[in-house]
């Protein structure tokens, strides 16, 4: 086994309950995004683009979709003889076996996996953010500071800072205090949930944490505060650029809409830092004689004959003549029939919106920071006179 300088561990375990019917049968990282991607494509692509070719994907919830999506790793250039992408579910040791108790426990249970590559560093990632980041620069910073742990932070508006884990640092970036969702934040450096640890050091703390039966075995709640208390060298690495947590319906919708905004920092077309995805083998999409397209992203395999405005249309979508889709996300293999009106909505994959059905309502601005997005679950079929109101969610069947 060839040694690897840095191994990435991707925490893809969460069910993502806040995404409701969309994650009923699919783990959040496997959620479609941006016309042809899945959320996890961003983290996988960042990893390989950063020169890190060994990545463990920790998951215990609905791994099929993820397992088959990642497959042999080839779309991300992760089909390596030595290294590559590995799905790591919990497993049975000799007589006992247990599910992952928390983020730290998930890594703890996979210490043997990491040790096989004898890495100096471990990069901990989560699979539910949309961003482009060169982790190798963060690693360079970690080495330069001779840090034990480096945490990526992003500057957030002070009024939003109390929603995040906030790092309070010295001028050189050394963290002297970590506050989880502070009422009165002292800084605007929010943790992005991306950590680099010197592996020997992390291993020590993971083993200690596992012995502590009061611990929740969580990085944010236990490992990071514990290391800080012990006086380890912990640094904040400042990232600037587009970064978005897509953990809620509203933020998932916003992140998709950002792709349509020429002012947005998220530039998918940049050839120096491609985002890879598994290819769908669909023909080009067809725009029909009756179609009106006004600011849209449209992926392959579609047949579009309706009116599309400020929307993201995924692979294999059919929009019939006379249908209107505005400010919406239409996931793969969906059929929008004529006369249907979709506005501020997310249509799950494989759904069918029948003739003249209305989904969602026009909106000018979010309410308490949340857009009222109507959601139609995967595979749902709706017929008139069905009307789905703003913010309403109709259940998925498989």
């Amino acid at each position: 086994m060839l040694r690897k300088e840095c191994v990435a561990m991707l925490l893809a375990g969460g069910q993502g309950t806040r995404l409701g019917v969309l994650t009923q049968n699919v783990a959040k990282p496997a959620m479609p995004f941006g016309g042809k991607y899945r959320i996890i494509d961003f983290t996988l692509s960042n990893t390989i683009n950063s020169g890190i070719d060994t990545i463990g994907v920790l998951t215990q919830y609905q791994p099929f979709e993820l397992n088959q999506y990642i497959g042999n790793g080839q779309p991300w250039d992760l089909d390596r003889l030595n290294g590559g992408a590995f799905i790591l579910p919990p497993y049975q040791k000799a007589k006992s076996g247990e599910w992952y108790k928390g983020t730290a426990n998930a890594i703890y249970q996979n210490i043997d996996f990491v040790d096989k590559y004898q890495p100096e560093y471990v990069l901990i990632l989560s699979g539910d953010h949309i961003y482009k980041m060169d982790y190798s620069k963060m690693l360079d910073f970690h080495k330069l500071m001779e840090a034990d742990c480096t945490i990526a932070v992003i500057d957030v508006p002070i009024e939003e800072a109390s929603r995040f884990g906030i790092m309070n640092t010295n001028a050189d970036g050394r963290i002297y205090e970590f506050e989880e969702k502070p009422r009165i934040p002292k800084s605007t450096k929010a943790s992005m949930g991306i950590y680099i640890f010197t592996w020997e050091k992390l291993k020590k703390y993971l083993i200690m944490d596992e012995e502590d039966h009061n611990s929740q075995n969580d990085f944010g709640k236990n490992i990071i505060p514990g290391m800080l208390r012990a006086g380890e060298r912990m640094y904040a690495y400042e990232f600037s650029g587009y970064w978005k947590d897509v953990g809620t319906i509203s933020s998932l919708w916003e992140a998709n809409m950002d792709l349509l905004d020429p002012q947005s920092d998220i530039n998918l077309a940049n050839k120096e830092w491609k985002i890879y995805a598994r290819n769908a083998a669909e023909p080009p999409h067809y725009i029909g004689n009756q179609a009106v397209i006004d600011n849209a992203i449209i992926s392959e395999g579609g047949n579009i004959d309706g009116h599309i405005e400020k929307s993201v249309i995924f692979t294999g979508v059919t929009v019939d003549w006379g249908a209107i889709v505005r400010n919406s996300i239409v996931m793969p293999d969906t059929h929008i029939e004529s006369g249907a009106i979709i506005d501020h909505a997310i249509i799950g994959w494989g759904a069918r919106i029948g003739k003249n059905v209305v989904v969602g309502e026009p909106q000018k601005k979010p309410v308490n920071g949340e857009w009222q997005i109507a959601v139609v679950g995967p595979g749902v079929e709706l017929e008139a006179p069905m009307k789905i109101k703003a913010g309403e969610m109709v259940g998925g069947k498989k």
């Binding site: 042809k36 290819n279 083998a281 023909p283 080009p284 006004d294 992926s299 047949n303």
Partner: protein, 371 residues
């Protein structure tokens, strides 16, 4: 092993009549249908029919083909024991002459064919776009106890030197001949795709080669008609034979019909191509697009009508593209108009240009040209 068929493909064949489109490439690597090369249809049909041992015979300009195929990984053909073998010219031909016809071409790789464990061979040109299930064709071939099964379809003759088939009620071929003149009437036309038992193919080719014969159709098939064991398998659904600029343009434009696309692309048997990791296409607020086939990675701010755009094409504000085919990385700058044109890869049309061909005579703009 359970695989019964292998395949021999001819990458070249119509370069002379495809003019500017095949200066730098074989017919097999001619872009078609917005994101494909012609060879993609042959390779995908074979893979979808579980045929994974594929020998491709090239004659010249094969580097674009090699680059496209890359050991076959996009077709899942990078196999240990089978997969794609590309035979460049000269390799087995000590006289350093390019092969003269299919018979000589097959003869140079007879060793490869004989060593393969499969019992049946699909022999095909690479200038056909169609969705073919060779498992069904083989089943019919076996059921009919045919010597050679010739795939064909019913269509008008829209180019010269098409092979015309006459068959009896049982489907066996009674006559085969070349037809040089186009017609407005439907004929049964050979697609030049055959299934033959391997031993028989070897026998045909060894016999013909030793007599100095070169033309597979004329010197073997036409003569075999009299034995009555050539079976005509008529393909239902869309099939295109691309052998000159006119048929290239006409067959491309047919893809704007939904029914044609469904026959070619839908269903279980997908058409695969080289993965390029393009982003989805972005339409701006000022665009106006109708009746067009648009591949990934385009940015469209102008007008596009009745056209096919390949990957990563840019149509700027005020530009108008009508009845045209724009290949990969093409750019049409502000306020230019393009009609009845085929622009090869990476062509740039600068601002305020007006370029127009005619329906029956589309203008071709060669690769990398800045107009």
């Amino acid at each position: 092993m359970n695989t019964k068929m292998m395949s021999v493909l001819f990458a070249s064949g119509n370069e002379s009549k495809l003019n500017e489109l095949t200066i730098h490439r074989t017919t097999a690597s001619l872009p078609f249908g917005g994101r494909y090369r012609l060879v993609d249809f042959a390779l995908s049909n074979l893979v979808n029919s579980n045929i994974t041992r594929i020998g491709i015979i090239t004659r010249n300009n094969y580097s674009s083909l090699m680059d496209h195929i890359r050991m076959g990984r996009d077709w899942d053909l990078n196999r240990k024991n089978s997969g794609i073998a590309v035979f460049p010219p000269f390799v087995l031909n000590t006289s350093r002459e390019v092969y003269k016809g299919k018979i000589e071409a097959i003869y140079t790789i007879l060793d490869y064919i004989k060593k393969s464990p499969e019992d049946y061979v699909v022999v095909s040109n690479c200038n056909i776009a169609a969705n073919i299930d060779f498992v069904k064709v083989l089943a019919t071939h076996l059921e009919k106890k045919a010597d050679v099964t010739v795939l064909c379809h019913t269509a008008r003759i829209n180019s010269s030197r098409r092979v015309i088939i006459k068959k009896d009620e049982s489907g066996f071929i009674k006559d085969l001949h070349f037809e040089e003149t186009p017609s407005d009437q439907d004929y049964l036309i050979s697609l030049n795709i055959y299934i033959i038992k391997k031993d028989l193919l070897v026998e045909y080719v060894e016999n013909a080669y030793s007599r100095g014969l070169v033309d597979f159709e004329k010197d073997i098939l036409f003569k075999e008609v009299e034995n009555g064991r050539l079976y005509a398998y008529e393909l239902q659904g869309y099939a295109a034979i691309v052998d000159d600029v006119k048929t290239y343009y006409a067959e491309s434009m047919k893809l704007l019909e939904r029914g044609v696309r469904e026959q070619l692309f839908d269903g279980e048997n997908k058409i695969y191509t080289k993965v390029k990791d393009s982003v989805p296409t972005v339409y701006g607020s000022s665009c106006k697009v109708i009746n067009s086939l648009i591949a990934d990675g385009c940015v469209i701010n102008g007008t596009v009508e009745n056209s096919i755009l390949f990957r990563n094409v840019r149509i700027k504000e005020g530009a108008v593209v009508r009845n045209s085919i724009i290949m990969e990385d093409g750019v049409v700058m502000e306020k230019s108009t393009l009609a009845y044109a085929i622009t090869d890869k990476h062509v740039i049309i600068r601002e305020n240009r007006q370029i127009s061909g005619f329906l029956t005579y589309p203008i071709v703009i060669v690769k990398n040209k800045v107009v």
